[in-house]
């Protein structure tokens, strides 16, 4: 072989870049490039979705001697067209951290000790049985994740809801995506976006609502930049509460005061109507108007209950409602100039511009999360810019399978894989497919996530199994929930890959196989299901989370419901699961197709995937000749009258700063994986608090100096970052939550959207002082 390993790798790197460029810029030419035929066999490439972030990039993992050694973007995957980001590339290193949990651990005399896996699984089953016997079925719970592979969530739902008969199934996607779900359901009657990432190639204008895509969805941000690069007239508007890397890459950055996006969205609609930019053909045919309850509370007390009630209204009532939201009025509330509001309205209103709106946690982690989702849909509906290439209101997901596993499988207390537990037909369908008596499935939801952890604290829940998530870092108002988990008489099982603050409170730790160490499926933001095969061997005693659930189910006596063999269980589960979605509105691709391709978008009907829903040109379930919003009984999309209401807790004289929390590019969620990747760790070695330079000067805080931040719930001391990668406006601080050394959620508030029950991690009040 006349090629060194290093020059071989470099040739691979160059070839990958050329492939990505050719996909993003068809017809591009590189005069200096000569394709080299590289020797086969040095590295074998296998496809997989990236296991970080809801973008769902297709990756090709290079394997040498059964070890993952390289990553390239998969040019066959239309999500990323050969690109990937720094987390995606380093994702293989998360497999090889030194303190990887490879053995089961059981707490004995207060200490976690290694035991054979079988002993740990026996203990889990025995404790579940005992708890159900002495405290009832609703005393056991499972808390999963948007990083669960689809079969994990499916097995959990079947075991808990179908076999045990409790609706105590929740997942961390409640903390990141629930408002998107209720937004979709209330506006369209069906969950998940109508559009897809191809909208990025077609849009003339992008408005990002409280969404730092350059760090959180970097590959999609790169695709927006590529579109702007090739079309010149394309504009990106960053509408946010702080200045970020996305602001720097955008054509215009507009800052608003926290929570006032509600008012601005209404003001945009006011302007669209005032300027006669309403698309009446569309509105008359496809839209109806509705209002719901107002002053709906914030859920900060235990057992909080809320049920919205929709009332149909007419356009006139909607127009009158908007009279409170003139740009001049809203300027006073929001801090956004009337001129900027009018500018945004003009972009949406221009009939010659295709507009895509993107959002993620900024709108979803919001005590009026459902409302703000509704209000952005209102804008698109008034101008008819929806369900067609480039015209797309698009809620991005944070996690790789928040859609696939949580929203589609339905791993939330009120959900089943098809429909909700309250619906008799949905229960009957589940009972038939799961082969359980229909009476097993309880028609009453139990606890959403925050209430589930409150129930653990109160003692209503006694046994909790946590898989693929780290609630002892991520729960808001964390101290209460950690103390609850540690109380006498609670039993915590944690399936994990590395030690975390959650495994610290465990009575049993089950060692999990991770990502490409097992076969599975993810479902990304754009309704794309993505399969990965097992690419490398499982280390030590680690076991796939799905199989852990099957082992425990069998010990509980549910062999009949979990009959599959170790060789084929993932395929068997997929074949059973897709029976729930076998209609043109949601048909999933068969296993064989998914195995062969880099992801397929549902509905997958007659061998075709669906890029734009509700549009008969693209969607096999849509009828008529233009649009058909078939999710609602009136086959219309709903415009909602939703007012501006303030946040649950706003700054005051005692606690004068907003606290906003979030993520950074290099770290994934609580950092339990990315902090173990040296290059990512060194890039952002610890968390910090971003302080506005004027506030810092006033308080005598310098860059890197220690700051004490206190809320009504707790306090934290950490280093200040001034003029770092993000810059909050005066009166706001921002803290990334990836670092378990600084548990910022001991400071945050557990207020949530009363409709979605999703907590607001972006707004509470704190005071700052030099430490």
């Amino acid at each position: 072989m006349n090629i060194t390993r290093r020059s071989f790798i470099k040739s691979l790197a160059l070839n990958s870049a050329v492939a990505a460029a050719s996909t993003l810029f068809p017809g591009i030419s590189f005069g200096a490039w000569k394709s080299k035929d590289l020797p086969a066999g040095m590295i074998q490439w296998k496809k997989t979705p990236c296991r970080f972030c809801g973008t769902g990039c297709g990756l090709l993992v290079g394997v040498s001697s059964k070890r993952a050694v390289a990553v390239k973007g998969d040019p066959n995957c239309t999500v990323n067209k050969g690109l990937c980001c720094v987390k995606g590339y380093h994702s293989i290193q998360i497999l090889y951290g030194e303190d990887r949990i490879k053995k089961a651990l059981v707490r004995k005399n207060g200490k976690l000790v290694e035991v054979p896996l079988k002993e740990a699984l026996d203990l889990v089953a025995q404790k579940m049985k005992e708890t159900i016997k002495s405290h009832g079925k609703d005393a056991v719970a499972i808390y999963g994740s948007g990083q669960w592979s689809i079969p994990d969530g499916y097995a959990a739902s079947k075991l808990f809801k179908g076999c045990i008969g409790t609706n105590n199934v929740e997942a961390n996607a409640r903390l990141c995506m629930a408002s998107a779900v209720t937004g979709f359901l209330t506006s369209f009657g069906l969950d998940e976006p109508m559009g897809c990432y191809d909208d990025i190639d077609h849009a003339d204008v992008f408005v990002t609502w409280g969404n730092n895509m350059a760090e959180m969805h970097p590959v999609l941000f790169s695709r927006m930049l590529a579109n702007r690069q090739s079309k010149k007239h394309v504009k990106i508007i960053d509408f946010a509460t702080r200045t970020t890397r996305s602001s720097q890459g955008s054509d215009k950055s507009i800052l608003f005061r926290p929570q006032t996006d509600l008012a601005v969205a209404n003001a945009i609609c006011y302007e669209i109507i005032r300027n006669k930019w309403v698309n009446w053909d569309f509105v008359n045919k496809h839209v109806s108007f509705h209002k719901g309850k107002t002053n709906i509370g914030y859920g900060t007390q235990d057992h909080f209950k809320f049920k919205d009630k929709a009332e149909t209204v007419d356009f006139k009532e909607y127009k009158d409602f908007l009279n409170d939201y003139t740009p001049e009025n809203v300027e006073k509330i929001s801090g956004v100039s009337a001129q900027d509001i009018k500018y945004m309205a003009s972009l949406y209103g221009d009939p010659d511009k295709k507009v895509t709106s993107f959002w993620c946690m900024g709108m979803n982690q919001h005590t009026r999360g459902t409302w703000i989702n509704n209000l952005v849909y209102n804008i698109h509906l008034l101008v008819g810019k929806i369900s067609s290439p480039g015209n797309s209101p698009f809620s991005l997901t944070g996690q790789p399978s928040a859609c696939g596993t949580v929203r589609e499988v339905g791993t939330l207390t009120h959900k089943l894989p098809h429909g909700v537990v309250m619906n008799e037909g949905a229960r009957k369908m589940a009972a038939e497919i799961w082969q359980v008596p229909v009476e097993n499935i309880d028609p009453k939801p139990t606890y959403h996530t925050v209430e589930m952890f409150r129930a653990l604290d109160r003692g209503d829940i006694r046994f909790m199994w946590v898989q693929v998530t780290n609630p002892m870092v991520t729960m808001p108002n964390l101290k209460r929930y950690r103390n609850g988990a540690l109380k006498e008489g609670r039993f915590m099982v944690v399936s994990e890959i590395y030690p975390t603050p959650t495994s610290d409170v465990a009575d049993v730790i089950l060692p999990s196989a991770l990502w490409i160490e097992r076969e599975g499926f993810f479902g990304n933001s754009e309704r794309r299901t993505q399969h990965n095969e097992q690419i490398i061997p499982t280390p030590g005693d680690t076991m796939c989370n799905t199989w852990q659930l099957i082992e425990v189910a069998r010990r509980l006596g549910f062999e009949k419901q979990f009959p599959w063999s170790r060789e084929t269980y993932i395929e068997d589960i997929w074949n059973e699961y897709i029976r729930f979605h076998d209609t043109p509105k949601h048909r999933m691709a068969p296993y064989k197709e998914l195995k062969a391709r880099s992801g397929i978008q549902w509905p997958f009907v007659n061998g075709m995937e669906t890029k734009w829903r509700y549009n008969p040109k693209y969607d096999p379930a849509a009828q008529g000749d233009d649009f058909d919003f078939y999710g609602k009984p009136d086959r219309k999309a709903w415009i909602w009258l939703r007012p501006y209401e303030p946040a649950a807790e706003s700054p005051d004289s005692e606690y004068p700063f907003w606290l906003n929390t979030g993520r950074v590019l290099e770290h994934w969620h609580t950092g339990s994986m990315t902090r173990r990747v040296p290059i990512l760790h060194r890039a952002v070695p610890e968390s910090y608090v971003e302080v506005n330079p004027d506030d810092a000067a006033r308080l005598g805080i310098t860059n890197g100096s220690k700051v004490k931040m206190t809320s009504r719930r707790g306090s934290i001391i950490m280093k200040a970052s001034i003029n770092g990668r993000g810059n909050p406006p005066k009166g706001m601080v921002f803290v990334p939550f990836f670092d378990e050394k600084y548990l910022i959620n001991e400071v945050t508030l557990d207020a949530f959207c009363p409709i979605s029950k999703q907590p607001d991690y972006k707004k509470c009040a704190v005071k700052l002082e030099r430490a």
Binding site: A13, S16, A20, G27, I28, L225, A226, Q229
Partner: protein, 76 residues
């Protein structure tokens, strides 16, 4: 032996400048597209420390708007 490849987007009108600036850095090979405003960058720093250093230098380039990664290899 980290090896990465990227698509590098110059700020408006700065393709030549970016090409020259990247080519002047150690461990960087650059290839401009003939008919689009982008460049391909391949980096091969000898170790992670130098990779970090290189990253810092690249990020400081005023002519660079953004990088899209396409490939990565390290001694994982």
């Amino acid at each position: 032996m980290p090896v990465f490849s990227y698509l590098a987007y110059p700020v408006k009108g700065a393709k030549e400048e970016l090409l020259n600036e990247l080519a002047a850095l150690d461990h960087c090979e650059v290839m401009p597209a003939e008919n689009e405003e982008i460049l391909i960058l391949v980096t091969d720093a000898p170790n992670e420390e130098q990779e970090q250093e290189l990253q810092k230098k690249i990020k400081q380039l005023k002519s660079l708007q953004s990088l899209g990664m396409t490939f990565g290899h390290g001694d994982a």
